[in-house]
Subunit: 993 residues, 2 copies
Amino acid sequence: MQDALIALTKYWTDRGAMVVQPVNTEVGAGTLNPATVLRILGPEPWRVAYVEPSVRPDDARYGENPNRLQTHTQFQVILKPDPGNPQELYLGSLEALGVDVAAHDVRFVEDNWASPALGMWGLGWEVWLDGLEITQFTYFQQAGGAPLEPVSVEITYGIERIMMALQGVDHFANIAYAPGISYGEAFGQAEYEMSRFYLDDADVDSQRRLFEEYAAEARRLLDARLPVPAHVHVLKCSHAFNILDSRGAVSTTERAKAFARMRGLAREVAALWAERRTELGHPLGAVEAPAAAAVPTEFAEVSGDNTLLFEIGAEELPPHEVTRTAEAVRRALTQKLAATRLAHGDITTYATPRRVVAIVDSVSDREPDAERTVRGPRESAAFDADGNPTKAAAGFARGQGVDPATLRRVEVDGVNYVGITKTDVGRGAVEVLSGILGEVVSELRSDKNMRWNDPKLSFTRPVRWLLALLGDTPVPVAASSLAAGTVTRVHRTAAQPEVAVASAADYPAFLASHGIVVDQAERRARIIAAARDLAASAGGTVDFDGESALLDEITNLVEEPNALLGSFERRYLDLPAEILTTVMRKHQRYLPVRAASGELLPHFVAVANGSCDHDKVRAGNEAVLRARYEDASFFWRADLETPLEKMKDGIAKLAFEEKLGSVAQRADRIGVVAQELARGVELSEKDTETLSRAAALAKFDLGSQMVIELTSLAGTMAREYARRSGETEAVAQALFDMELPRGGGGAVPSTVPGALLALADRFDLLAGLFAIGAKPTGSSDPFGLRRAAAGVVAILRAHPVLRPITIPAGLAAAADRIRAQGIEVFDAVLADVAEFVVKRYEQHLLDAGNAHDLVAAVLPLAHAPAAADETLTELSARVTDPDFAALAAALQRVRRIVPADTAVSYDPAALVEPAELALHEAFVKARSAGSDLAGFAEAASVLTAPVNTFFDDILVMAEDPAVRAARLGLLASIRDLAAPVLDWQSLTTSLEG
Amino acid sequence: MQDALIALTKYWTDRGAMVVQPVNTEVGAGTLNPATVLRILGPEPWRVAYVEPSVRPDDARYGENPNRLQTHTQFQVILKPDPGNPQELYLGSLEALGVDVAAHDVRFVEDNWASPALGMWGLGWEVWLDGLEITQFTYFQQAGGAPLEPVSVEITYGIERIMMALQGVDHFANIAYAPGISYGEAFGQAEYEMSRFYLDDADVDSQRRLFEEYAAEARRLLDARLPVPAHVHVLKCSHAFNILDSRGAVSTTERAKAFARMRGLAREVAALWAERRTELGHPLGAVEAPAAAAVPTEFAEVSGDNTLLFEIGAEELPPHEVTRTAEAVRRALTQKLAATRLAHGDITTYATPRRVVAIVDSVSDREPDAERTVRGPRESAAFDADGNPTKAAAGFARGQGVDPATLRRVEVDGVNYVGITKTDVGRGAVEVLSGILGEVVSELRSDKNMRWNDPKLSFTRPVRWLLALLGDTPVPVAASSLAAGTVTRVHRTAAQPEVAVASAADYPAFLASHGIVVDQAERRARIIAAARDLAASAGGTVDFDGESALLDEITNLVEEPNALLGSFERRYLDLPAEILTTVMRKHQRYLPVRAASGELLPHFVAVANGSCDHDKVRAGNEAVLRARYEDASFFWRADLETPLEKMKDGIAKLAFEEKLGSVAQRADRIGVVAQELARGVELSEKDTETLSRAAALAKFDLGSQMVIELTSLAGTMAREYARRSGETEAVAQALFDMELPRGGGGAVPSTVPGALLALADRFDLLAGLFAIGAKPTGSSDPFGLRRAAAGVVAILRAHPVLRPITIPAGLAAAADRIRAQGIEVFDAVLADVAEFVVKRYEQHLLDAGNAHDLVAAVLPLAHAPAAADETLTELSARVTDPDFAALAAALQRVRRIVPADTAVSYDPAALVEPAELALHEAFVKARSAGSDLAGFAEAASVLTAPVNTFFDDILVMAEDPAVRAARLGLLASIRDLAAPVLDWQSLTTSLEG
């Protein structure tokens, strides 16, 4: 292993990096070394490489877990500025480590990084070597709360993992550290003893006092304007905190306070450092951004129709951005071309993680010329009495550069002006495209954008090359520092990674000849075909429908899918299947293989990128999965030995949200609210008991090691652990149910107690976060409130028995518990939340294809979505019934005529005309109608004819006020009788006739 | 610089070292990394190399001092076990760093290392590169208070220093750290800010609390049997202490307590680590010591007389051991040869730092045979009546393996026995020598011995090779693992560093042909000759007499002296000359060059070893001296800006000794004692004032930066700084004087106030350290008490005016002050001290050639050495006077006859005989004689004849008790009259006649 450290050091120093030493106080990551966290600030260049033994007390395992150490070894590289080719440099470093990057499957998989404590974030990847995360690769965007200019590239190698993979050992202790000495021999005792210290023996009171001392000293040093020692003390602070945490001694309040304090100090350190460097005149100088590419001024002429090929080359895009960007580029091109006069055929876009390719068929060689009229003064003011041009006309002509004699009459809206006709000469296709394509690149945006070494561009990942050909004519394109060429990049491991492209013709085939499948659909199909065959070879199948989202992701993680079948030891099948599949999907993007019975088989399909050595890559992936399953087995066993109550106690230490308190507090609120909601509904005695017990255990599994590790297993593990510790199956299921639905369209709770808990969970979440002002904005919804709202709706729709629980009632119950914690929850906020939830419902109904007017009609009922659903169904059936349409029209007519503030009562004695008496009688008959649509429609149908007659015969606005009042009162009563059923006014287009 | 770290890493990993990371908590040296301090314990092998940024808060200088940093970079190597050739490996590493070791002067200069705090010590060297200390090289002998088995070699490179030398820059900030970035650019801001923290801004109260927290945690972790985290906390403790220290916040009491605490913890950590490793079964195995060399059993025969050459090759011996070992080997050889029958001629030994060479002329080819008689039973018991051998005789004969018939008579002390005569056949010379030479090596010892990889040998430094030739015949010698050969080692940088030796003939010339001057006297003479010429070339001279001790040292630091003249900038001559010469002598072993007037010239003579590139070596040495003078200038200027009182305040923080308190406490005691002593002597008013002021300032200069750095300038700097801050010249001189004499034979105080302070200083030292049980033992005298005692004597002898101050009186005054500090000082201890001091005086008198009996005679007066001196002078003059001899004889006769318990008074009326009356009358006359010898001898001469007559005529032991009492009383009175003059009984051989 030491050779690896030496090789990396040499590799990077050969590339101009300086080497520094690890920090001489405990840090959790190389990022915290001042050589990173301070030096990335400000304009000075910096290129550094170093080893950083990184201490994570929480990861202490006495040296027993094969993959976890309280101190692991990071090798850290900072490149400031981004050199433009950091990925290529990185791959070179892997080769220096002896990794045959052509044989292995090396991938850049989206992974963003943020440390709120440091006010830092960045975008980048985790680098996979045959499925094993070996490196964090990040473009730092912000630090100390301020944007970074220039951006730095951080490369953090996880040395133990790399060594375990390269040496093929399955426990860190077995890494050959130096000739004749293993990692375990060198560091095993320290690993054990420091684990003891962090987990069992560190004195908690002492560490609390140390935290205070360090924080206070950091404060003093900031006041003394000494950022370097201040930083050291922030680090010490942080380590003391980590020790307290690993000793299980941090309460939620403490955690929130401690974080706030450290965050404040860290930001001040960063600001002060930047300030001091400015005062010192930036001794290392300032980075200069790459120059802007020359704006094209000369354009080749082409003839005839040609195909346009435009490729935007990028570093690995996040999967969800691949398809999205292809579509965005297609849209942008379509719009921009439409704004020109250039004729063209179909516009197609393709995308892989590294490129977006646009192909426009039959692009005309140039825009046709166009005529354009320019209006001058009124004809009447253009010529004097002698017919000579006036000053106005002469001025206009001069301004247009024409002889006044050429002015002619132009009529606009019946008024005569003078004017001229100009010819806009059509531009050549190359010129037109040059401008458009440049804009397309400059305007690329994603959900979350980043900066790199380019001075102006901003996108989800760095754009590194452009290729533009019209037929076989290069199209010059400039976008900030990038200039388009005729060279594309194929697999980085290809013998010739850059390839010239001669022509736009048949580019997908050209790419295919270099191993790149540019069409997403084709990639997806290939993956399915290959996976099907591989699964079959192991006697199994893959549930492609169930894995659709995963398939989409995999499709966008590779340029050339290369599926392979891996296996794992059968003994892991003893673990709950959800654990196994969760690990496969979420962590590894493997497709699980199942028997016909649906049971898991000990196989998986992994999809590598490009050609590679299948045996090596398979072995690597299998080793990764084994390690992860080993971890999971460890957690599983440990959890099974832990009483549920103890896990539940553990969640008191998990912060949920600063103001809203711990997860335990939230679980308590949920339990109470669920039981309160239950009071309003019919519940069997058994369900009541189940609910009570499940409420007491609510969310206990968040305190299990498994869920701490694999959060998506919350609920799943609750059910498993509850079953295994003797809870009833009903309780276990309720605990499972309370986490449902997990996402849009996901399964909802199957039991009523579970549904009640799930509702209470979501009402608490929504009311709580809206109350503290954390409602979702734009694309930001960190607490998943949209999903929660949709969940409320889904549950209420799925469990009509819960109809008494309206959305406002549920929110009110949740709000009560939150208020009991001393947090203000305004009623207006609750109304907001209710509206927010209803909006989800509305959207869902519309997405399901219901007519807008029908949806609008039932919305007033949406506080009880089950009721609204029923009404909508009924309504949808009736809208084609002419009688119903007539009734609706009559009721709409009534409503239109009655002013909103009309008194609803009336004196029938004041009614005298037959039509009004007939209506009164009909109303009396209809008055007993229920508020459900079916009943109402039947009962109220007696109103239709009398209403119409009434309006035909009677002048509502009689002069006698008593008569008028009675007539209006009658109509208002009819209106109000109909109102609770649905919003009649909304019914429009759907009605028959 | 980073290339150097990489090169060293590669060099050592290529040689099997593993690499570890620096400690992730602040340490003062790489030694404290557990990879050293723990791993050197126990039997397990370990070979490691690492960089250690070493934090010394005390060295913080805001980055302003060119050579001092609060954090400097050590490169640390541990070789366990000693590989047998660590020096050669080390030199190889210098070559790997790009040092041309043949062109430069690389030397191993004695430097031992001890950390009482860690219970650790070792012997070794500082390695010089052209006079610059670049590396510490230590054989660890003990750690945690226990001997180390096996011994580890520690090599600690001071990287910044090496870089400054290699790059030829004069400030660390200018070191090229990495391509395009200097050390200052990389670390300058941190250097400044951490200096601010350590010197100015660290919160003292907080650090005190941290110290307690860490110490308490270390304690708990020891109790939990976790040595690794316990060690980490001892390190944290130590760093907190260092910060407190650099903030000037450690009182003497605190320091003593803190050290005791840290020492205790560190020792427990070491013991616990060793214990745990044993429990773990020593996972890395156990080192095996090299096998013992085969004991020679076959010996070549030689003929005729031959010269024996025996060479013991060692790693660089400390200079004082070079000559000493040559003499010890000569003595051992002489004695051992004398115990054999092997005839031989002269025995000569030579020595250099790397070898001791013994040459024995004319060694006979073999021992002559010798006859030997073995005695059996008495003749009377040997034969029975029939003349047949008895059982006894037969048994004896059988035991001797002879026929009883061969028994013959043997007479011993007049008794007849039977016996046999045996012939001891003489052994061949080679066999004889083989045994002797092996013993010589095995029995080598020095003042301070060490162990290395050899399982049995022990010496001042490792013995690495043996060479033994008798004429041209190899003599097989085995000493533990070493076997003698016929190969010697010449300069390590020679093309052929190992050279075969064919014959013992003319070995010094053989060595000379390889550039080695084996004869110390010749080396010394060469140095003098070369230095004289070089000094003359610069118009100066060297005071060879004055530099005699330095010359001896230089002679023993080189095998081939190679003197060169260096220069320094004239501006440094503005510094006091003592500073300049102290630096030259003590730190650099340079000979100062002076003008005829005695003034320093800006030149020096350095003596390199072996041939080298003079320009390079000169430049290197000049740079080192410049750096040291720059340092000194810095201190000088800083001190001149500091008021004396402030420096004096500073010494309160300097610990003198744990029980005896701070240096300030000691200075206070000295001031009081000096003034108390002054009361008994005649002092002018001016001297009284001077003493009072000097007493108030006593030892203030120990608080100056200069003296903290160059302790031997204590007193010298006091005078300089006192003068420059307006004190009177008398006060300045008194402060200078109080540090005199500095060593045996050194100058004594020239002024009475200075003498009083110097006496008080030494009385305090002696009384204090004896009181706390720290009197010198064997060769250990860490506080220089022998020198102090000699100083007392020298001062009292030089200042007869101080005669009223006897040694006991001075000690009593000092003891009073010490007792006032609450320390018990028993009177018996003071008597011990007085005797200890008198012993120095006695030794001095004897060394000066005075006759033993005369010295013994004046010893009773030695409590006032000046008086004893006078008496001795008088006595020496008088012993040749027959009258005096007669007087002495008479007085001795008196003393012999009078029992010790005789009453001294007598009744003259009881005397009746003429002889006794005559003696009475003579006594009455003599009674007025003073106690000074001259006066007494004159006045008492009247006693001689009457005493003799009295003894002739009178029977002292008269029967009448009254008469007897009177006679005895008379004699006792005479005895007591003479007693105070001198010890008459001691006078023996010196007396005439």
